[in-house]
Amino acid sequence: MAFNSLEFAVFLLIVFLLYWLAFDKNAKSQNAFLLIVSYTFYALADWRFLGLIAFTTLCSYSFGLEISRHKAKSEEKKAKSMSAANIVINLLVLGFFKYFNFFVESFATVIPGIETNTTLLKVALPLGISYYTFTALSYTIDVYKGKTKATKDIVQLALYISFFPQIIAGPIGRSTYLLPQYAERRLFLYKYGVDGLRQFLWGLFKKVVIADHCAIYVQAINSSYQSQPGSAILLAIILGTFQIYADFSGYSDMAIGIARLFGIKIRKNFDNPFFSTNIAEFWSRWHISLTSWLRDYIYKPLMGWTKISIIRNILIVFIICGLWHGANWNYVLWGLYNALLFALYVFTNQWQKKTKKNHPGHILLTFTLICFGFSILGIEQSEQAQICFQKICSWETLSFLKTLFFDFSTLKRTIAIIFMLVVEWIHRNEEYPFTLNIVKNHCARLCIYYILCMVIIFSNIEGQPFIYAQF
């Protein structure tokens, strides 16, 4: 049940009314109800792996309590081994379901003479496993570090791991931020309701109007790159980058909006990443819930100040970041590419220089590098990269500007993208990317909502799943 379906709208309406009208007595009843709803939501998408979420929850719950018990007795070693055991179990589960096929295939390719049994391969990928595993890991690591208290309320923890707006495609939850919210009874506030609906509307607009329409162009060019001119390939690379952004940030906005409707606050996952002036800034604004997770739980513990240790840490973090996105060599290559850019940025001491904020040249250069990075993800063969590169290097490529503004369907996409960037730029200092605080007139605001709704209804494209739900 995708967020952009009529079924979800009905589901959300029923859940919303029941939550606030029938299960509003205290935090326990609110949590129990949301947990049932979350498990139902997941089961409707793929019931086969419901047990796996329950297993992850039970592991986190029991290990969390054990770690806490040992810490209370000052048994640091035992607490550490418990924490390590929990990490290993979670990573084994994630590794088996997400990376088994990849490693077996890669192993068979590298070592000649070894044939893989094709029936052994193709382990099905549980929906949202990368998200809820990282969410669960964050809890036990935080308990070990003493940043959060181990909860004795299993319903609360289960909800933290499986809260339905987040479970399929994040944002990845952090126990320090979310568990205290689940511990308290949520009260309905008119402002929260309006904020929630507004974020949902904005996310839906980005998904349906921008991401899905860019996807049509990108897929068409990707499947026929041999017969396409360089300008079309370049345009597909640019639109592909916006597609990924609008798709994923759209999902995040919708998840944040839905959570807000239930009185739960989730931190924003994107912060105008395309206005970054360098690669480090980009990664602090893109998929914040993942990058902050990697920073806090991998980069910081590895911390070192020698050049070699910095390079090693950057490599480790970005390869994990790449692999987290997909069990595929393209993602590893993408991770390495970003690691290289990051390392170059650090070692040319750019981070020490004060770059002029919002410098157009720097923004354009960063955006170009980002686009090139995302284009790696769409490459299926080295021959494809070679052909596309050759075509892009031709003079004809310059005519892409003509396509951008004079081809009607591309122009529509361009206008929608510009509108999105302008709106998000205006709201760059706000809590949410779409608050319309600058529009003071109530009727004008209502008109903007209606226009967005109409554009969504009349540009509805079906059958386009969320890209990040595949991770």
Binding site: E7, K122, L189, S224, Q228, L446, S459, N460, E462
Partner: protein, 331 residues
């Protein structure tokens, strides 16, 4: 405070959503009155099923690839975009009892369609037409499929001109050799790969085999219904361009041959025409690497099929039918 805010919010939301609901209701009513290919085919078959002698089923390969007006017997093309064996069976079983004159069913079996299931494909946006127009009520329930406005291919009808995309006998008419994309033959290898199950590592072997056996099961049910009524089934693999068939997965190709062989072995009323690599079809006969152009390729294929029916199948059937008088005598 808490409760009054809830009431205030709910009242405002209901009022704010009213205009949107009204727009959606108007769109839905307008779309119900719009013509579409599925509505036309359902109505045509409801009124003329008893006269149909040749029924063409299948996806776009036969929708654009066979022009019924080039067949000597009264034919109708009930094929539609991305229509799989399940929907072929549902359409066929809906009208079979009315089809008193039916003699031949043309059932396409292609490299791509043996592993195609509309219900789980990216083209599932067509499913609502079968529910809303053909009234197939045994589908898994999806709210989106109960309304036209949830589907872009429906809602776009409100903004498009009324130029029909199908002929009176149900065949597609827009895929002409002049309207095709330049360089279509170069993308054939990529298209062939995208039609191969091995191209999708996320799809398990079990899923592939499940779809294959479901499709075979539906094809068998169609053949069974035909056998009961002495109707001959022509399994047809439509022509594809050289650059397409040179890049297919041989294992999947063998699966396609096995699919047809099994149907032929189990039933006496089945013949198979594999024209996938047929050299009679050249560059101009194709709209793209796996679809024929309606102005050249479809005419050629329809003529070949007609010859096959009239010159090969008809004499065979005539000789195999025992005259009624003989049957009576022997009894």
């Amino acid at each position: 405070m808490h409760n009054s805010e809830k009431t205030h919010f709910l009242v405002k939301v209901i009022l704010a959503f009213m205009p949107i609901l009204v727009v959606l209701a108007i769109c839905e009513i307008l779309l119900h009155h719009c013509d579409n290919e599925y509505k036309y085919k359902n109505e045509w078959l409801s009124q003329n099923a008893k006269d149909v002698q040749v029924l063409i089923l299948g996806p776009s390969h036969t929708r654009t690839g066979i022009n019924p007006s080039y067949l000597s017997e009264k034919a109708f093309n009930a094929a539609s975009m991305a229509q799989d064996f399940k929907y072929d069976y549902l359409i066929f079983s809906k009208f079979i009892n009315q089809m008193e004159s039916l003699r031949y069913v043309i059932l396409p079996v292609s490299y791509a369609t043996i592993l195609h299931s509309l219900d789980s494909s990216s083209e599932k946006g067509y499913i609502h037409y079968y529910i809303l127009e053909y009234n197939f009520d045994n589908q898994p329930f999806h709210l989106n499929n109960c309304f036209y406005f949830c589907h872009s291919n429906s809602i776009m009808q409100l903004f498009q001109n009324d130029t029909p995309t199908y002929a009176k006998l149900g065949n597609g008419i827009t895929s002409t050799s002049t309207s095709r994309t330049q360089g279509w033959e170069k993308i054939a290898p990529a298209t062939a790969k995208s039609h191969s199950a091995s191209f999708y590592p996320e799809v398990s072997n079990k899923q592939i085999l499940t779809i294959y056996s479901q499709n075979l099961n539906y094809a068998q049910q169609i053949v069974n219904l035909c056998e009961e009524r002495n109707v001959h089934v022509i399994l047809l693999t439509t022509p594809t361009y050289k650059t397409y068939w040179e890049n297919i997965d041989p294992k999947q190709y063998d699966m396609m041959l096995d699919f047809c062989k099994q149907l032929q072995d189990e039933h006496s009323n089945v013949s198979y025409l594999n024209m996938m690599k047929d050299e009679r079809f050249g560059y101009d006969d194709f709209y793209d690497c796996h679809h024929l152009s309606v102005d050249y390729g479809a005419i050629k294929l329809s003529t070949i099929l007609n010859d096959y029916i009239m010159n090969t199948l008809e004499p065979q059937r005539a000789s195999s039918i025992i005259p009624a008088t003989e049957t009576t005598t022997s009894e």
